[in-house]
């Protein structure tokens, strides 16, 4: 078993690496240009733009850096142009010159018909322009790229700064994480409380009205779009239903359930703190939605698993021995039927942290899902990568946990 564990852990690293490369690549090619907000600003000169790009590392190569990050001018005198072309089309304008020995930063590169061009920036004098690569001597470190910078940082726990909010990404993520966990864990418990008894009873009374009804229910739960269901819940319980007039002055006429947020800000301001029942009040709708959905899934698994166990011989033996039905069901059948369910539970655990994106967006719940959604809209690289990598790690880790737990619970399984 230990060897199996070690093997699995060693296999996890390349998987996570691959995922990080793939996701990083996708984010890089997203068509959002962080510099676009500065482009129309007349007060920002092209030199300022070049400095900003250099400081933010925007034009650094994404994965492998074969053009170098800094170099020294090799030739006696080097002319800098505003474009990476020497001929053809419009004439490039000379924008500056550098003398031999000057250290420059290499901020961009282009290979075209007229040669291998790089854009250099003389930091102190803020002079920037294009010149031929051969005019410089540069030390090339292929790992000096955006991806590897990110990789080396994250394995040390540095999630970087959000380029939108200028705060450490980890801080932003950790702010939201508890809210998501609160929501998801209560929904988790709720869905199991609903699904397990119903699943068991459906299996015992197979083909009864109860069973048929809940089979249909589970079917609908699988097919309904979760975000639509949330909208319907809000429409019904928030817009349409109001507190009746006999509920007292403070409540009458107000919406029956809150449609958004984790707590009432005005209440907090009035009281100075948030009372526990305000949290509960705001939790009811989102948890209901998540529980019904999860329950629809688990109900089916529970029923199927239970059915398979009930028809086994040893259950018949237990009954023949004269054991009480309750003991037979809970002591023998359920214990065995729960094993596949536990596996599925373990596999669903990452959702506890990843958050239900749709639920949090619909109910404005300040959690990780909503953070991801906003970051995706603004293409906030660090936060996106942080959330995705945390989730991917959790998925891989819980896959392993599921296998181990399964082996632990079912003595017929042996890993080596």
């Amino acid at each position: 078993m230990t060897r199996y564990l070690i093997r699995r852990i060693l296999q996890a690293a390349p998987v996570l690496l691959f995922i990080s490369v793939a996701v990083y690549g996708l984010i890089i090619i997203s068509p959002i240009d962080p510099m676009s907000i500065y482009e129309d600003n007349p007060d920002i000169t092209p030199e300022d733009m070049a400095m900003l790009e250099y400081r933010l590392g925007l034009r650094q190569p994404a994965f492998l850096n074969f053009r170098g990050s800094s170099g020294t001018v090799r030739v006696a005198q080097v002319d800098l142009y505003n474009k990476a072309e020497a001929s053809g089309g419009t004439e490039p304008i000379k924008v500056g010159e550098l003398s031999s020995g000057t250290r420059v930063a290499i901020v961009d590169g282009e290979k075209n018909a007229s040669g291998d061009w790089v854009k250099v920036l003389h930091v102190a004098e803020r002079v920037t322009g294009w010149t031929q690569r051969e005019n410089l001597s540069a030390r090339i470190n292929p790992l000096d790229s955006r991806y590897f910078k990110w990789l080396f940082a994250i394995v040390q726990g540095d999630f970087g700064r959000s380029n939108v909010e200028r705060r450490p990404s980890l801080e932003m993520i950790l702010e939201r994480l508890p809210n998501t966990i609160k929501l998801m864990s209560i929904a988790f418990v709720g869905q199991l409380l609903i699904a397990i008894p119903i699943g068991i009873y459906s299996a015992i009374r197979q083909y009864s009205l109860f069973d048929h009804f809940f089979t249909v229910f589970a079917y609908m739960g699988r097919s309904i779009p979760i975000f639509w269901f949330g909208l319907i819940l809000i429409i019904v319980f928030h817009s349409t239903l109001n507190w009746p007039s006999w509920a007292g002055e403070a409540l009458a006429g107000k919406p029956l359930f809150p449609g958004s947020g984790m707590y009432d800000v005005r209440l907090e301001r009035r009281l100075g703190y948030v009372p526990w029942w305000d949290y509960v009040y705001h939790l009811i709708l989102p948890v209901t939605m998540l529980s019904i959905f999860g329950a629809a899934r688990y109900m089916r698994y529970m029923r199927a698993s239970m059915l398979e166990i009930i028809h086994q011989d040893y259950i018949r033996t237990a009954r023949a021995k004269g054991l009480k039905e309750r003991v037979v069901l809970y002591g023998h059948a359920l214990k065995n039927a729960a094993i596949p369910l536990v596996t599925i539970l373990a596999l669903d655990m990452p959702a506890l942290f990843g958050g239900a994106l749709f639920t949090e967006t619909i109910f404005s719940w300040p959690g990780m899902g909503k953070l991801f959604f906003r970051s995706a809209q603004r293409v906030d690289y660090s936060v996106l990568m942080g959330i995705v990598m945390i989730n991917a790690t959790l998925i891989v880790a819980f896959n392993l946990v599921a296998d181990v737990v399964y082996a632990f619970l079912d003595p017929r399984i042996r890993y080596d």
Partner: protein, 332 residues
């Protein structure tokens, strides 16, 4: 009767020449008399179709799917309103005789938008399924047929793809592929549809790959494949003409369910704003537009989602019916 008579069989008196006796014997032993013959020839398709017909939800589902498909194809003929033309005088009108489903926030007739949105949503579902099934079948087929290291490598790839946190990666993919570098399509509505199809398919092919691999692994050992190989049939032909047709049943069922999940995925993405961009209507982005006024105008939110729900349930019914009809072990 005494015991001995019951135990000992009676001796029969047989008459006739040898030819006559053989003739009578042959007459008596017709397959139909022994309950062995078919009353009529039945092809596999006929058998499947009859089993399918017996599955009531599947028939209801098929009828609904047909209805949706027809209304999607015939959309221009079904409604005279323009789905994209705004008419701010008629904003947010509740359902009435002129506008059976009401109007949306820009004054467009909702029913018309549902028809045209159905076109986009349903075709995205089908196209994504086609792409996912093709890719999955190729990868799974190669893995199952060749086995060995090919199988190992391809299945590791499938495992890695399954480790991606799907919703997150879907969104990031949709962002990245928003401006596809295909010049001919750039700027048209079709570009964003195409990129969504790609996005959904990329994360949907794994299940089909596993199915096809399992089928191929099992079928590979059968004698008719061995015979084909002995006859010198090249590998590719074996895969395409011998293995694949026999593996079709689980593929067809999986493909049907894939359409349903693709429709939900597309509407989810569009609802978040990462899917098909307005003004092209899809059921998902109609829900997105409806969110701001769902308190005042709930019909804008109710109807598009209802359509998604009904379509998905119908497709699931059909899938279940197909699965039961194609199941060779099903007890009648």
């Amino acid at each position: 009767m005494s015991d001995s008579e019951a135990v000992r069989p009676q001796r029969e008196v047989v008459t006739g020449t040898r030819e006559e006796r053989v003739g009578r014997l042959a007459e008596a032993m017709r397959p139909e008399d022994m309950g062995l013959g078919y009353r009529e020839e039945q092809t596999m398709t006929q058998l499947v179709w009859r089993a399918f017909r017996r599955h009531k939800p599947a028939m209801i589902g098929s009828a609904i799917v047909l209805l949706f498909a027809l209304s999607a194809i015939l959309a221009p003929f079904l409604s005279s309103y323009d789905p994209e033309k705004t008419d701010l005088d008629r904003m947010l009108q509740p359902p009435s005789v002129q506008h059976i489903m009401g109007t949306d926030e820009l004054g467009r007739d909702l029913l018309t938008r549902i028809f045209y949105g159905g076109r986009v949503s349903l075709s995205i579902g089908v196209m994504a399924m086609a792409l996912a099934v093709t890719v999955g079948a190729v990868i799974g087929g190669l893995a199952g047929f060749y086995g060995g290291w090919v199988d190992n490598v391809l299945m590791r790839f499938v495992d890695v793809m399954l480790a991606f946190p799907s919703l997150f990666v879907l969104i990031i993919l949709a962002l990245a592929l928003r401006d596809l570098p295909i010049e001919a399509l750039r700027g048209t509505a079709f570009a964003s549809v195409f990129s969504i199809v790609l996005v959904i398919a990329v994360l949907a092919w794994m299940q089909v790959a596993r199915l096809v691999r399992a089928s191929f692994l099992a079928l590979k050992e059968k004698e008719f494949i061995e015979a084909a190989r002995c006859a010198g049939v090249p590998n590719l032909r074996i895969m395409l003409r011998h293995l694949l047709p026999n593996a079709m049943s689980p593929i067809i069922v999986a493909a049907t369910f894939r359409v349903a999940t693709s429709i939900i995925t597309e509407s989810g993405l569009s609802y978040l704003g990462f899917g098909v961009q307005p003004p092209t209507p899809t059921w998902g982005n109609m829900l997105k537009n409806a969110q701001d006024q769902m308190t005042r105008a709930p019909w804008t939110a109710i109807f598009p989602g209802l359509m998604i729900f009904v379509a998905v349930v119908a497709i699931n019914f059909v899938g279940d019916g197909l699965r039961d009809a194609l199941d060779p072990y099903k007890v009648e």
